[in-house]
């Protein structure tokens, strides 16, 4: 990312984004207080959100749903319409922001081709259970959430987790329920994560309407060159999302892709131990740890840019330096379309290479521009620290947007400290930590995964 590109990115907020965000804040505030007790101002906020959708196919159903909800008819259907409206508006915000970013970076994004609707059987009872819990939350509002209301989701979430096809919804609801549980009684919280919880609520409500169209996929073969690893984690889930460039076999141009491996976990498995949960993907983990390219064969690549990982269809290749990959291939790689349901600012995660900056404590200065570095997102399972970021002179990171501003999430850094060059990547410890201090600490703690597996073996199947 060049200084001029950063200047363009940071040049004001795209038209309409602030107004749309204000509408969201009104909706989120209404959800915090509960739709059963709206009052004049919050009823008006919902009506304003519906009004903003006026020119779209959602406009008239949204106006209708808001009227019914204000009148006290808080049904599943009306809530789904409202959640859809909020999601559509965030979709528009996402589009404006991503278009700004793509223009600044000079990236051409593939358009989305909508597949025909699917005739997939849905687990109706289960999804119905989700919807009714989400309905209870909407009626009560976050401020009314107590232990009983949180626990009411336990059985549904447990059943969802058992269905691999519903894992995204299960992981989402489990994360939300854990936050609510830790915040109970919510009425005593000094401040509410209103935007966040409304996001999670709306997303869960949409997912629990049943499966959408199956995302189209093609089969690809070629060389996969890793850029970096974005680590996602809550108490009971972890996902390693690898950003990489695929050089397809044949003459096709290089493509920017992601590939992900995810596992269920418990809260006490943290830090480098997370990698041990993913031991069934040794080829991928080995390539991350050793900075190697991967030769992949006949792997599904979804239209949204996700390569569906099959460890048995990959072999480790030659050493490949992620910084070299970023310097040579990133700027011109073909950028994937965004799946319609994923059009939300939180999903914007564009890999960039930033160099030639002056690193401050939590920002990079580049040609007179300041790019905030998100130091909260340095995962405990890798070697990156605020100190290394501050000492760095080159960084592979993800450009993200949240809370009204652009930020850079580092995935890898290189630089010089005490006259010695250093380099650190999020995936460096995929096969185990390489820092002797961390190795020692891990040895002292013992293997959390093994301890719990032993307990499970002894106690679960009796």
């Amino acid at each position: 990312m060049l200084g001029v590109q950063l200047t363009e990115l940071l040049d004001g907020v795209p038209h309409g984004v602030e107004e749309a965000l204000d509408l969201m804040s009104g909706f989120d505030d209404a959800l915090a207080h509960g739709f059963a007790r709206l009052g004049g101002e919050r009823a008006a906020a919902l009506a304003a959100l519906a009004g903003a959708l006026g020119a779209t196919p959602l406009g008239s159903p949204a106006v209708d749903a808001v009227e019914k909800i204000i009148a006290g008819s808080i049904t599943d259907e009306h809530l789904a319409t409202l959640a859809g409206g909020r999601t559509a508006l965030f979709g528009a915000i996402h589009d404006a922001l991503l278009s700004r970013l793509d223009t600044a970076l000079g990236r051409d994004r593939s358009p989305w081709a909508e597949p025909p609707p699917a005739e997939t059987a849905a687990a109706d009872n289960l999804l119905g259970g989700c919807r009714s819990w989400l309905q209870e939350l909407a009626i009560t509002g976050w401020k009314g959430v107590d232990h009983d209301l949180v626990s009411a989701s336990d059985q549904t979430i447990e059943a969802l987790l058992a269905d691999v096809g519903l894992r995204p919804l299960a992981v989402l609801l489990d994360g939300l329920a854990a936050e609510l549980r830790a915040s109970c009684p919510v009425a005593t919280m000094e401040r509410l994560p209103a935007r966040r919880w409304a996001d999670l609520w709306a997303r869960a409500l949409l997912l629990s309407q049943g499966p959408g169209a199956t995302e189209p996929a093609e089969r690809v073969s070629g060389r996969l060159l890793v850029l970096g690893v974005d680590v996602h984690e809550h108490a009971t889930a972890v996902q390693m999302q690898v950003h990489a460039i695929l050089e397809p076999a044949g003459a096709a141009p290089p493509r920017l892709v992601r590939t992900s491996v995810a596992a269920a976990k418990v809260d006490t498995i943290v830090g480098p131990a997370l990698w041990r949960l993913l031991h069934r993907h040794p080829v991928l983990l080995g390539a991350l740890a050793e900075h190697r390219g991967l030769d992949v064969e006949d792997m599904p690549l979804l239209d949204g840019g996700d390569l569906v990982w099959h460890d048995d269809r990959a072999t480790a290749g030659e050493p490949a330096d992620p910084f070299a990959t970023a310097r040579i291939l990133l700027a011109d790689a073909v950028t994937p379309a965004v799946r319609p349901l994923d059009r939300h600012p939180v999903r914007i995660a564009e890999p960039v290479l930033v160099e030639g900056y002056t690193a401050g404590d939590d920002a990079f200065e580049l040609d007179g521009n300041t790019l905030t570095v998100d130091l909260d997102r340095l995962p405990g399972c890798g070697p990156l620290t605020p100190g290394l970021v501050a000492a760095s002179s080159a960084c592979i990171g993800l450009v993200r947007w949240d809370g009204g501003r652009w930020m850079l999430q580092p995935l890898a850094v290189q630089g010089t400290a005490k006259r010695k060059p250093f380099e650190a990547h999020n995936g460096d410890w995929a096969m185990g930590p390489t820092d002797p201090k961390v190795v020692k600490a891990e040895a002292r703690a013992g293997d959390a995964v093994a301890v719990l597996r032993e307990r499970a073996g002894r106690l679960l199947r009796r």
Partner: protein, 167 residues
């Protein structure tokens, strides 16, 4: 411009729950602050197949300890907690930090205070079966198959630094 919300309230990835700190799990495999109690499971020192279910109520400070087969713990007295409860409290402090545990149990405890000595409850009945089944559910997460289909929802849940080495 907005309806009075702070920047934190308008963040999609605002952090709500601090990450737990790593700790050794051999003695006390399960600790949680839930349902109004500090509760968990303590492995028996003598029998691999036996565990103790221990809990301390936040509202009364009443405490309870029994085996998973619902036999009362022999070390538990009417007014003094057993070694399992002490281990539970110690590990909870390692996992969540003293502040968070003390706040949950509504006790004032300084850095040098022993949490258990600050509690003034007596032995009382507690739903050991519920806690034990929550532990089994906890363990069941590790039996779930891993997945490679993308989970875009996890963009709302970035990994954060675990802050500090294992103690």
């Amino acid at each position: 411009v907005n309806t009075g919300m702070s920047a934190w309230e308008q963040r999609s990835v605002a952090r709500v729950v601090p990450p737990v700190r790593p700790r050794k799990l051999v003695k006390v495999p399960f600790v949680e602050l839930a349902d109004g109690r500090l509760q968990g499971v303590v492995s028996s020192g003598s029998d691999l197949a036996r565990v103790y279910v221990s809990s301390i109520s936040a509202s009364t400070h009443g405490f309870s300890c029994s085996t998973n087969n619902n036999r009362p713990c022999g070390g538990l007295h009417a007014s003094s907690p057993c070694k399992h409860l002490r281990a539970l409290a110690d590990e909870a402090v390692l996992q969540y930090g003293l502040d968070r545990v003390a706040r949950y149990l509504r006790v004032e405890a300084g850095d040098d205070d022993d949490l258990v000595s600050r509690l003034d409850g007596v032995r009382e009945a507690a739903p050991a079966a519920v806690v034990f089944s929550r532990f089994l559910r906890h363990l069941a997460y590790l039996e779930l198959p891993d997945t490679t289909a993308p989970i875009p929802e996890l963009h709302w849940f970035p990994a954060v630094s675990t802050g500090g080495a294992v103690r």
